[in-house]
């Protein structure tokens, strides 16, 4: 199979305006991935599926990943004038990376028996902007898996034929696979006679942690 760089170049040529980045994978598994821009993701996926040399017709796995907001503090040497003298002073700078949700697809070819090609898409943020184009019209196997990502991560897939909760019940409100999810004290917190329980559950889940420690991670670039 071609290298990822060649696939990227060909896909960008085939889909005008498309922008693809290669996300490295530092681990020994050596499975780097292609980061698609959301606007052209469906067209690129269609190209990957139908291109005669690639024919990635089997979307084996589709899943979500949650990346929280994070601040990375770095020590930077800055030149400063201290008491009339120019000195190099170490200063701590904080850099802020907004969080996002990610959908990862593993594509294989059943025709040519090669793969995987890993493609990812990222949402704008983790709240209102958590929207991605659905690949279900191209890969039917993504149908239930995208529903699962919606259910557990809260990514809205635009163009999905039947997007609703799949594993959790319909009335469930949060997204349990998110990293900042806190389970409520009591699972029976229906707002009937249990208003006090509901209040307790609210209190319990109010403090949402800003986790850190994701700097070393692969999907961040």
């Amino acid at each position: 199979m071609e290298s990822l760089e060649e696939i990227k170049a060909r896909a960008e040529a085939a889909v005008p305006g498309a922008r693809i980045d290669i996300v490295p994978n530092p681990g020994p598994a050596n499975q780097p991935s292609l980061l698609l821009d959301n606007e052209h993701a469906a067209a690129i996926a269609l190209f990957l599926r139908d291109d005669p040399a690639l024919q990635l017709d089997h979307c084996s796995n589709a899943t979500g990943v949650d990346w929280l907001d994070r601040t990375v503090s770095k020590k930077v040497k800055v030149k400063k004038v201290v008491e009339g003298e120019e000195k190099e002073v170490e200063e701590t700078q904080e850099e802020f990376f907004p969080g996002y949700l990610e959908a990862v697809y593993h594509l294989y070819s059943m025709t040519h028996k090669h793969g995987p090609i890993v493609i990812r898409m990222r949402t704008a943020d983790r709240a209102e902007g958590a929207r991605l184009p659905s690949l279900t019209p191209i890969y039917r196997s993504a149908e239930f898996q995208e529903r699962e990502i919606f259910d557990l991560y809260g990514v809205r897939f635009e163009g999905h034929p039947d997007l609703r909760r799949i594993l959790m019940w319909d009335e469930f409100e949060d997204y349990p696979m998110r990293k900042d999810y806190r389970e409520p004290d009591d699972y029976e917190y229906e707002p009937t006679a249990h208003d006090d329980v509901l209040e307790k559950a609210k209190q319990h889940s109010s403090a949402r942690p800003k986790l850190d420690g994701a700097e070393k991670l692969t999907a961040q670039s």
């Binding site: 598994a29 034929p161 039947d162 019940w169 319909d170 009335e171």
Partner: protein
């Protein structure tokens, strides 16, 4: 009970609205049973129905006895396995993978171990790889045998075939028990090898089981495959084309029943499968009968693999001594590993941040994704056929709902 879609009608969903409704012929039996002229009746099949193989529910819209719409409802056994996997160490998830597809804990272990080995570039000793092949194929034998029993039970051959199949399964579970200490929740494999070596006399017992298995298969095949009722109930029921099967991510025997030659044991060549001579049986029609026969034929190939593996099994260590499985911290990175489980492609996707827990732990469950086409398979068939079609897909709710 609060359930997903309790008050939701099965009628909605855009795919269903575009359904071609075949004109009814009053002279056929189907036309006779369709009493509600032009009206659909909604039935909730499951989750307590014995033929749904656990707690699985289908919202079915019927026209007479014919299925016009079908929406599967999941989640009754959901315990967020993936979240638990992210909160425990890499080793801690290993016994929990047994609970995914509780019929095939050995292959679940292997898929997880394989993914971690990819993630951290761990080598596995030769003897351990052979043991893995032997145990995975034994798992395949008992899974397929019990599936055939369940399927016949769904079709109305009550009890006897299931007991025949379970008799064979018990013998294999005895082997698992004497090896790992547990019949179903084996927790046998580790990243970098296996947990313990064979007890004395195990191999002789296993050889006897494998040698005796074809006799059971011959007998079972004689009993079922030319049975007129079985043929009437399965042939041309639940057909699916190869193109749709590929696009819908169908894997395992269900895919090969459509004639698509895709077996990960050949394609990926993981473990030591390239060292063994075996064939991949392929179906032609993609109907329930082909799916059933796929299992029978695969069992014969499994026996061939088992005989070769038992012949070649080398002596040596069963665990890579360099791997610290307890304080295990793989380097940062991600990996997706997959194996050919008895039900289809079982994959694990792991992201490591260098810590003791995986940052992301994802299971690619074959029977969940194989259910994607359940509605397509069932449309136009009667309610009684739905049970046969569901049985031929081979699902286990522990894996579907995770």
């Amino acid at each position: 009970m609060m359930s997903s879609g309790a008050e939701r009608s099965a009628v909605e969903g855009p795919r269903s609205t575009a359904l071609p409704v075949t004109p009814r012929d009053p002279s056929t039996a189907l036309g006779m049973t369709a009493r509600l002229e032009g009206e659909l009746m909604e039935i909730s099949m499951g989750p307590q129905h014995p033929s749904t193989h656990g707690v699985f529910r289908m919202n079915v819209a019927l026209e007479g006895e014919v299925v016009r719409k079908l929406k599967p409802v999941f989640g009754y056994l959901h315990r967020n396995h993936e979240k638990i996997g992210e909160n425990t160490s890499y080793l801690g998830s290993m016994p929990y993978t047994d609970r995914l597809d509780y019929f095939c804990s050995m292959t679940n272990n292997w898929a997880y171990a394989l993914s971690v080995e990819k993630l951290a570039a761990i080598e596995v000793p030769e003897r351990a790889e052979y043991l893995r092949v032997i145990l995975a194929e034994l798992t395949r034998l008992q899974n397929h045998a019990s599936l055939l029993g369940f399927l016949l039970s769904d079709m109305g051959a009550w009890g006897t075939p299931l007991m025949y199949a379970f008799r064979e399964r018990e013998i294999i579970l005895d082997l698992f028990e004497s090896l790992s200490g547990s019949r179903m929740m084996c927790d046998y494999m580790r990243f970098g090898g296996c947990r313990c070596d064979l007890p004395p006399g195990w191999m002789e017992r296993a050889r006897k089981v494998v040698d005796a298995f074809p006799r059971f298969l011959d007998e079972f095949e004689r009993l079922i495959v030319s049975n007129e009722i079985l043929i009437a109930r399965t042939q041309n029921v639940g057909r699916i084309s190869g193109e749709l099967a590929i696009n819908a991510g169908i894997t395992g025997p269900m895919l090969r029943a459509c004639g698509v030659n895709y077996d990960l044991r050949k394609v990926d060549g993981y473990g030591f499968y390239p060292r063994f001579k075996f064939r991949v049986p392929l179906g032609d029609h993609g109907d329930c009968y082909d799916r059933l026969m796929m299992r029978v034929l695969e069992m014969r190939e499994s026996i061939a693999i088992l005989k070769q593996a038992m012949e070649q099994l080398p002596a040596g260590p069963i665990m890579n001594p360099k791997v610290k499985i307890r304080a295990f911290k793989p380097p940062a990175g991600e990996a997706y590993g997959r194996i050919e489980g008895p039900k289809g492609e079982l994959g694990f996707y792991l992201i490591s941040d260098g810590g003791p827990n995986p940052y992301r732990y994802r299971v690619r469950p074959p029977s969940f994704i194989n259910l994607t086409v359940l509605e397509d398979l069932c449309l136009g068939h009667t309610v009684a056929d739905v049970m046969v079609i569901l049985g031929s897909i081979d699902i286990v709710m522990g894996e579907v709902d995770r």
